[in-house]
């Protein structure tokens, strides 16, 4: 009977080899695929074992921290009361339930201490417990509150940027939500379905019609191309025919042949439409691109939560090149047509003029520090593009100062500080009188420290100069104090 026993042992060998083979397949050969399976929550749990770094405002005040749950030993995110002001820009970290968003998602690597293979191997060997690095932002929590209070429960957004560095000081979006409790059962789906879209970061995700604030870009193209000067005279009669359709000034106001400076101060539509037509699609498209249109802004924020400004095919929700023959460039020049822009984009436009024509990359993060407070990484100011010459920028600044001194933007004027800006009032529903008021601008005029964009949705009977400019004034005042 020994021969069959030997054969039986042979069979057992084969069976066990199959077991070892299958284990190899699961543990090594196909492990990558299993690890990436969306049903596999282990990577997220793994990260929740690390004490996630804190997030602070620039003044050091705490916005987000991690607390260990003694029940399972995993860290969970807690947001400080003032973090509610920053709900959209901070985002949230509930990786085990609803996921991550905002800065929490963008800086997840640093926050979980996943700073590269080398350091983690050293930490492993030295037995050091892994702790995430902390993120210090450029955000100003007092100015943020001023912005939210000024929006006063209306839907809208305020963005404030330091022109020279691109540091984002204010990024407000209303309505907001409380990041604590977002992972409670039912809360996220309810907010996600709400008609007011409270989870939506209007500063980076909302595509609004820019109205007359777009004239700043048209003016930059006009001056920088050398085809126009601030004193170039253009007829301001109304209406004129643009792309076969009559275009009127606000209140159908009539102007004679007026210099561009005057045309900006009084926001004369017919003048700027003619300027844009004379510059042509190619040149307009070129300057829009220089200002950052057509691509997601280079902000340290998740791409999925950013919207590229530009001319849109509204049915297909797709960008159309501004140089396309399908685009009515005259109306693009005055911020109509199918233009859709984000508040962040328009704040960048103001900041670029303020910074002598150089567009800086906007940055929420100021620096990343380790648990002992040492700076691991400083996010340096980075130039995105030279948009126009310093001379053009200076000319445009002068024109925009006139807007606030004696034009449509006087409500943004500050005591003792010269402000440059431009108002906008996009007509959303003419029959019902619904408008989208705007203000973009910067201050102080001679040495700009802050640039802002303010806009509100669905305002009845209000204009950029009366609704948005006062908000910009309060935010700039707070930041310049």
């Amino acid at each position: 009977m020994n021969a069959p026993i030997l054969k039986l042992f042979g069979l057992v060998l084969v069976l066990f080899a199959a077991l070892a083979g299958m284990t190899s397949y699961n543990s090594v050969i196909n492990a990558e695929e299993y690890r990436d399976n969306p049903k596999n929550k282990r990577p997220q749990i793994e990260q929740a074992r690390v004490k996630r770094g804190v997030i602070r405002a620039r003044d050091g005040s705490l916005l987000a921290r991690s607390v260990k749950d003694p029940d399972d030993g995993l860290y969970r995110r807690r947001y400080s009361p003032r973090a509610k002001r920053f709900a959209h820009v901070l985002g949230y970290d509930y990786a085990l339930t609803i996921g991550r968003a905002g800065l929490e998602k963008e800086r997840n690597g640093a926050l979980t201490g996943d700073g590269g293979e080398l350091t983690s191997i050293v930490d492993d060997l030295s037995g050091k417990r892994k702790v995430g690095d902390s993120v210090i932002t450029n955000l100003d929590s007092r100015a943020q509150r001023v912005a939210l209070d000024a929006l006063g429960g209306r839907r809208g957004s305020v963005v404030a940027i330091e022109p020279a560095t691109g540091g984002v000081r204010v990024m407000a979006s209303t309505p907001g939500y409380d990041p604590n409790g977002l992972s409670e059962p039912g809360v996220f789906p309810r907010l996600n379905r709400a008609t007011t879209s409270p989870l939506f970061n209007r500063a980076t995700q909302a595509g609004y019609v820019p109205g007359s604030t777009m004239k700043v870009i048209t003016a930059a193209a006009a001056l920088d191309s050398g085809r126009f000067t601030p004193d170039s005279a253009v007829s301001g009669k109304s209406p004129i025919i643009v792309s076969g359709v009559p275009l009127r000034n606000f209140s159908d106001e009539q102007f004679g042949s007026i210099p561009l400076t005057t045309a900006l101060t009084h926001s004369v539509n017919t003048v700027w439409a003619q300027v844009a037509q004379k510059l042509g699609r190619g040149r307009m498209a070129d300057y829009m691109e220089r200002f950052g249109f057509g691509t997601d802004p280079p902000l340290d924020y998740p791409d999925a939560q950013m919207f590229a400004s530009g001319v849109y095919d509204l049915e297909r929700n797709a960008l159309i090149p501004a140089a396309s023959r399908r685009v009515d460039i005259g109306r693009v020049g005055i911020g109509q047509e199918r233009l859709r822009v984000t508040p962040l984009q328009m704040a960048t436009v103001a900041a670029t003029v303020a910074n002598g024509g150089v567009r800086m990359k906007p940055r929420i993060t100021n620096r990343i520090v380790d648990e002992d407070g040492r700076t691991v990484q400083r996010i340096r100011a980075a130039r995105a593009a030279r948009v126009m010459s310093p001379r053009s920028a200076e000319q445009l600044t002068q024109m925009m100062s006139d807007v606030v001194r004696e034009g449509t933007g006087t409500a943004a004027a500050l005591q003792g500080i010269e402000v440059a800006g431009k108002t906008g009032t996009a007509e959303i529903n003419i029959a019902r009188g619904i408008d989208q008021p705007w203000f973009i601008g910067f201050a102080p005029r001679s040495n700009p420290k802050i640039a802002v964009a303010v806009t509100l949705e669905n305002i009845v009977g209000g204009q950029g100069g009366t609704v948005a400019a006062p908000i910009a004034k309060q935010v700039m005042e707070r930041l310049l104090r």
């Binding site: 009977m1 020994n2 021969a3 069959p4 026993i5 030997l6 054969k7 039986l8 042992f9 057992v12 060998l13 069976l15 066990f16 199959a18 077991l19 070892a20 299958m22 284990t23 190899s24 397949y25 699961n26 543990s27 090594v28 196909n30 492990a31 990558e32 695929e33 299993y34 690890r35 399976n37 049903k39 596999n40 929550k41 282990r42 749990i45 793994e46 749950d69 029940d71 399972d72 995993l74 085990l96």
Partner: protein, 443 residues
């Protein structure tokens, strides 16, 4: 002088056993130390205490063997000790209370181990006299769980007071004893009376009856207890014994065909089996993954666990088993899925090492069978070894998605009193056969 020679051989065999126990003790001490360090960040002398207690238990069993079965295989017990202490460390890492329970069961298991050896040390072949009683007892044991509620659609255990008892573990031994004895009687007539028909050799009809009865019993059990895993184990053991007894592969093929037929019928009429197969084929399908009962969540999590382990594993105590008290990530980590935990924490390396230890035990078991001189002992050792090997194959195969998952324990490692007791009795029987065989072959 034969007497002196025997004494020298005894010393050799048992001394080898004693030395082989050292790695097991070191392993248990080091394992507990690792868990302590991981948990408390300090090395407590409690780990040494655990190691010492375990070493004392092993020494006690060793002394029993030294006195009663001096010639028995010196490697079987240390190999089992390695598995047992390894299992204890894994359980300790999962849940201290379970480990303490398991340690108590080890004491009980070693008592049964000793009792079996003492009762049968003169001649284990007395078992043959009670073969029908043993067979009947085994079948009755299997039917016991039918008296209680099913767990996950199968009648696997019954509860007597606080003790949950899985009779299939004991029954597998009873059935092997019966088959070994029955086949010793009939193996010759089965071969001699065989007829060839359509290229396949069939056993004579009049002797086929009892074998068909065994098949029928296995099928009936399958239907009654609805446990494919145990049935597979029983039937596999049965086929292994028929093959070794007759050396006719055709008998095995016929048997496999019959089993497949039975399983196919059951598959069609019982949802349990169908769910298991579905979960095996599509572990990540939403419908099965999210199913409240009988879904693929367990298998999927088992695969994720193994993937997490990689080649070297995450280290003791690092696997993600559960979140909080009531949120298991990997269910049944201490019983059915303990192999997945091993692969997670010790990696492919550790998991294959465990498989190798089992393979060494199987090798010693078959070696014992080959050394045995009488047919009953040969068949008994073969059957016990085959059943053990099959049990490992069924559960590890299920956990690794090689075959559909059916819940049986991983011998000597999984948590479970009946499993420990049964497997120690199985070990005792193997050592009894081995002692006699090695004594007889020595000149």
């Amino acid at each position: 002088m034969p007497h002196d020679e025997r004494r020298r051989a005894v010393v050799n065999a048992r001394n080898r056993e004693l030395f082989a126990l050292i790695p097991a003790s070191l392993l248990v001490t080091a394992g507990f130390a690792a868990v302590f360090i991981q948990r408390e960040n300090l090395l407590s002398d409690l780990s040494l205490t655990y190691g010492a207690i375990f070493l004392a238990l092993c020494l006690a069993a060793h002394l029993v063997l030294r006195m009663t079965l001096p010639d028995a295989d010196p490697y079987l017990f240390p190999l089992v000790a390695v598995l047992a202490c390894f299992g204890l460390v894994m359980l300790y890492r999962l849940d201290e209370d379970l480990a303490r329970d398991q340690a108590k069961w080890f004491v009980v298991g070693l008592m049964f181990f000793t009792a079996t050896i003492v009762a049968l040390r003169r001649d284990h072949r007395v078992l043959e006299r009670y073969r029908y009683v043993i067979a009947l007892g085994g079948i009755l044991l299997l039917l016991l769980p039918r008296l209680t509620r099913p767990v996950n659609g199968a009648y696997l255990s019954f509860e007597a007071g606080a003790i949950s008892f899985q009779p299939a573990e004991i029954a597998k031994i009873a059935i092997v004893i019966f088959l070994a004895s029955y086949l010793r009687d009939t193996r010759h007539v089965l071969v001699v009376g065989a007829r060839r028909f359509a290229g396949i050799t069939f056993p004579p009809l009049k002797h086929l009856g009892p074998l068909l009865a065994v098949w029928g019993t296995a099928m009936a059990l399958l239907f009654v207890i609805q446990d494919l895993g145990s049935s597979l184990m029983f039937f596999g053991g049965f086929l292994a014994l028929v093959y070794v007894a007759t050396n006719r592969i055709s008998f095995v093929i016929i048997g496999l065909g019959l089993f497949a037929l039975g399983a196919r019928v059951l598959y069609a009429i019982r949802p349990t089996i169908e769910h298991r197969v579905d979960a095996w084929l599509h572990p990540f399908a939403d419908r099965l993954y999210n199913a409240k009962v009988g879904g693929s969540y367990q298998v999927a999590q088992s695969l994720f666990s193994q993937a997490d382990g990689g080649f070297f594993g995450q280290g003791f105590g690092q696997a993600i088993i559960q979140l909080g008290d009531n949120a298991p990530i990997l269910p049944a980590a201490h019983t059915d899925f303990i192999y997945a935990v091993i692969a997670d924490e010790l990696g492919l390396l550790g998991a294959v090492a465990v498989l190798l230890v089992y393979l060494l035990i199987v090798e010693r078991g078959f070696k014992t069978a080959m050394l045995a001189t009488d047919s009953f002992s040969k068949l008994l050792a073969t059957g016990l070894t085959a059943v053990l090997a099959l049990q490992v194959f069924v559960i590890v195969g299920g956990v690794t998605k090689l075959i559909p998952l059916t819940g049986v324990t991983l011998p000597f490692i999984s948590y479970g009193g009946s499993s420990i007791v049964a497997n120690f009795i199985l070990l005792a029987l193997l050592l009894l056969v081995s002692d006699r065989a090695r004594r007889e072959v020595r000149p």
